[in-house]
Amino acid sequence: MSAPLTFQETVLRLKQYWSDRGCIIQEPYDVEVGAGTMAPETFLRVLGPDPYSVAYVQPSRRPADGRYGDNPNRLYKHQQLQVILKPAPADVIDQYLGSLQAIGIDLKKHDIKFEEDNWEAPTLGAWGIGWQVMLDGLEISQFTYFQQCGGFELDLVPAELTYGLERIVAFLQNVDSVYEIEWTRGVPYRSVRLLEEYQFSKYNFELADIGMLWQLFDLHEKECQRLLKIPDVVLPAYDQVLKCSHVFNLLDSRGAISVTERVGVIGRVRKLALAVATAWMKRSEAAA
């Protein structure tokens, strides 16, 4: 058996695979997000009548999931490969299975199952129907047919495929800890990312200035509201939503949000996200 792919080879193969199938290969979005879905390439592009197919790796930050680098499977920041196929082609599952073959998974020697898992992101006014894809008992992907986003029913139903890259590569390389993954030959994941996990865990759980974070939340919220009143700056307005969302996550990991406050703060983010989606829709209607 040939040596399993390294982390970066896996990423490259997947990008090549989806590029061959007509996807735009984007680079990661450069504002902190909790999931690939939040990047404008998904959140905004799935809205409206225009077909759009795109794939990108999205480093996804979830401050509360950090473990100072101690836990072999939990990370503050993990890498998702996000694929949007809008509209979803009829053979979308076969295409997905093909991508697994492309990274060296021989389906004849493994067990693959699609188990019900509907996705919902209340802060984004978004939900979809789908599965978690299980490979030999390991959840390797989320597969979702979006039905709604930003509160809008979608004109063209996109398929969203989200690959959990660390998990998949740890599986392929048969290691029990993500830190043992070979990023490229001779270089473990540990030496690329451990420091970051440790330092950000420390910051997220212990050091982030709560007072400052609340101020930032208010500032980004105000900026977003201001931009929403001005035509043709939907994208900058959406960046402000993402910043609010990340600040919220930081406050959460600092334990600074009580249960009663929580609902209210989520509501504020949601309101901004829906307003941005509405502005985006108006823009695309005007263009049509």
Partner: protein, 645 residues
């Protein structure tokens, strides 16, 4: 000619728990479609896998039976011109008309023959609607907003005899081509009705659910597998070609509570647990693959690896959680919302402590109430929500709480279903009762009443638990003490429990509940008595007499009057009175035997509706007395007797 029919709806993976109800729905609708449109034919069989719903029918005709309708035209007296007009309208010529005699005279008429529709055309028209009408808990659209199904429809096979029934749904055209297993089969297979199942079998799809289940059972029969019919059902319906494999994990994980290990295996990984010869959890599990073999052991290895990570997490949570005792977590409950309108779990815990006191719970029961919700703040419960209560109990034990306390916490969500046992200890029962009582009463107070099939807070289950714990746990509690707004709700649950769970007859329950339902233990005792005497020969006649008495009193609009023994006539009337008095101290069971002949004789010989109004009133009063004699046990007039039906 009798034709067989085959329908296969090919989809992407349908959630396992929705498949059987949908299949039944499809079967019913198809049979109704045939029956309502005068087509012969019977659904013969249905089957399903995650990717296909299949229906076979047989005995369909080539065309619908023709119908002949007699249509009345103008009166014959209207003449030939009118007849010609009528004939034209009927699409015929006047010589084809007939005449009929009616009470109003002679009329032209026509036998309008409508030829039956060709079956294949009928099915082609009706099947798309039928398929899209299958009921699902949640549906989606994938390319046409008007077309919703559980998951995208990707292919359709529809054959009547050898012919394709042509139709289209969301761009998919029906045909005679099916699709095999994703890995083991070909993606396109031409089929006929006769070779359909066999060709699927050759392409990695075991169509029959019972065959799939048997295949799993055969593969695991050499191991001591913890029985789990629900999981077996799930595994049968998430696979098209199930193959069980045995995996192992390190013995050291057995130090974790087996509840945690089993939950991880069952809920998160859908593994069956394996026991050793002593019935203890063994360091093995059974995973069921959706493929035929694991020749290189890669699937086993992969599953073992996943489980190891999951168990490591659980161990980590356990160790972390022990750093703070349950008692120390009580304050943290103030930030955990029970329900937005009802405050925090801290508030709930305090109310439950109070209720436990009122129910006579001792120090241990009260302590268990105080700690009962503290596990909601632990990492273990945040990760494995199903283990709430159980984790609290295990932690309480590890933290040296007395057995009565930790067991009560451990059990306090029980019974989780009709099949589930009630808590095993007295303290556990009291705690569980108090917890459910609090949830129910508080939710009803703020208007969160279940409607129809919607019961998001599980109030029906809570109420059912209350009834079961009182009856089966012998907890003395009168439901009359609950707030009035909960009475109707509880009454329904009491009735449901004795009828559907305990199997008492409907009329026995009505009869006994008429005499009071709020003390379920007492009600149970009375139900058992009524059930026992029901088989005795004197009972049904007495019950009919009681109903008769009730009707008489109702018709007479009798509402009480003073009874005068001196107005009684000697003979059957006095005899009945004496019999009622002399048997007063006898148990119901023997009284019925003594009274029955007296009652019968009374109705035979005595005219209740006597001419003298005083006598009449007195007789009604006598009957009223008789009726109330047994009213502390049951209202026998509610019993349905043979004579009645």
């Amino acid at each position: 000619m009798n034709l067989p029919f085959l329908l296969e709806i090919g989809t992407e993976e349908i959630p396992d728990w929705m498949i059987v109800p949908a299949l039944n729905n499809l079967q019913d609708m198809f049979q109704v479609l045939l029956d309502h449109n005068a087509f012969d034919g019977q659904v013969r069989r249905t089957e399903a896998t995650p990717r296909r719903l299949v229906l076979w029918a047989e005995g369909l005709p080539e065309r619908q039976a023709e119908t002949i309708e007699l249509i009345q035209g103008p009166a014959k007296s209207a003449g030939w011109a009118a007849a010609a007009g009528f004939a034209k309208k009927m699409g015929t010529t006047p010589d084809k008309l007939k005449t009929i005699n009616t009470s109003k005279g002679e009329y032209f008429s026509f036998n309008k023959e409508t030829p039956g529709e060709v079956t294949i055309e009928f099915l082609a028209r009706e099947l798309p609607n039928l398929i899209l009408k299958i009921q699902w808990p949640k549906t989606m659209y994938w390319n046409d907003k008007a077309i919703r199904f559980i998951r995208p429809i990707r292919w359709l096979v529809a054959l009547l005899g050898d012919e394709v029934v042509p139709f289209e749904i969301g761009g998919v055209h029906s045909g005679n081509t099916t699709v095999g297993h994703r890995v083991l089969g070909k993606p396109s297979i031409r089929v006929k009705i006769d070779d359909f199942e066999q060709l699927l079998g050759a392409n990695g799809v075991i169509l029959s659910a019972s065959e799939r289940r048997e295949r799993i059972e055969a593969g695991i029969k050499t191991f001591r597998v913890k029985p789990d019919p629900d999981l077996l059902h799930t595994l049968t319906y998430i696979t098209e070609f199930p193959t069980p494999i045995l995996g192992s994990f390190d013995r050291s994980y057995l130090e974790l509570p087996q509840e945690v290990l089993i939950t991880v295996m069952r809920h998160h990984q859908k593994y069956l647990s394996v026991e050793d010869a002593d019935g203890k959890l063994a360091p093995h599990f059974i995973a069921v693959m959706n493929t035929n073999a694991d020749p290189e052991g890669l699937v086993r290895h992969g599953n073992e690896r996943v489980l190891r990570a999951r168990f490591n997490d659980a161990r980590f949570f356990w160790d972390q959680d022990q750093k703070k005792t349950l008692a120390a977590r009580l304050e943290d409950l103030k930030t955990v919302t029970f329900q937005a309108k009802l405050g925090s779990y801290y508030d709930k815990a305090m109310r439950v402590v109070e209720l436990v006191k009122q129910l006579g719970g001792d120090q241990n029961a009260q302590r268990s109430a105080l700690l009962s919700k503290c596990d909601l703040t632990t990492d273990m419960v945040k990760e494995f929500t199903d283990l709430q209560g159980i984790v609290g109990g295990l932690y309480a034990r590890a933290q040296g709480e007395p057995e009565e306390v930790w067991r009560a916490i451990y059990d306090h969500y029980k019974p989780l279903s009709m099949e589930d046992a009630i808590p095993s200890t007295h303290a556990g029962r009291i705690l569980s009762l108090a917890d459910k009582y609090d949830t129910l009463v508080e939710c009803l107070k703020v208007g969160m009443t279940p409607t129809g099939s919607r019961d998001p807070f599980g109030l029906r289950r809570a109420a059912q638990g209350i009834v079961r714990i009182i009856v089966e746990g012998k907890i003395k509690y009168d439901l009359a003490g609950m707030p009035p707004e909960s009475h109707e709700f509880m009454r329904d649950r009491v009735e449901y429990y004795f009828r559907d769970v305990r199997g008492f007859a409907y009329d026995e329950i009505r009869a006994c509940m008429s005499s009071g339902w709020t003390d379920p233990i007492h009600l149970e005792a009375r139900l058992k008595r009524v059930q026992a005497i029901r088989t005795t020969p004197d009972f049904e006649p007495i019950a009919s007499s009681f109903r008769r008495i009730k009707n008489i009193l109702k018709q007479a609009e009798f509402n009480n009057s003073t009874f005068h023994a001196n107005l009684l006539e000697p003979g059957p009337e006095l005899d009945l009175y004496n019999a009622i008095r002399s048997t007063k101290d006898q148990p119901l069971e023997s009284r019925i035997g003594s009274l029955r002949p007296k009652v019968d004789l009374f109705f035979d010989k005595v005219l209740v509706n006597a001419p003298d109004p005083n006598i009449r009133r007195n007789r009604l009063a006598l009957l009223q007395n008789l009726l109330t004699e047994f009213s502390d046990v049951a209202d026998f007039s509610e019993i349905v007797t043979e004579r009645q039906s």
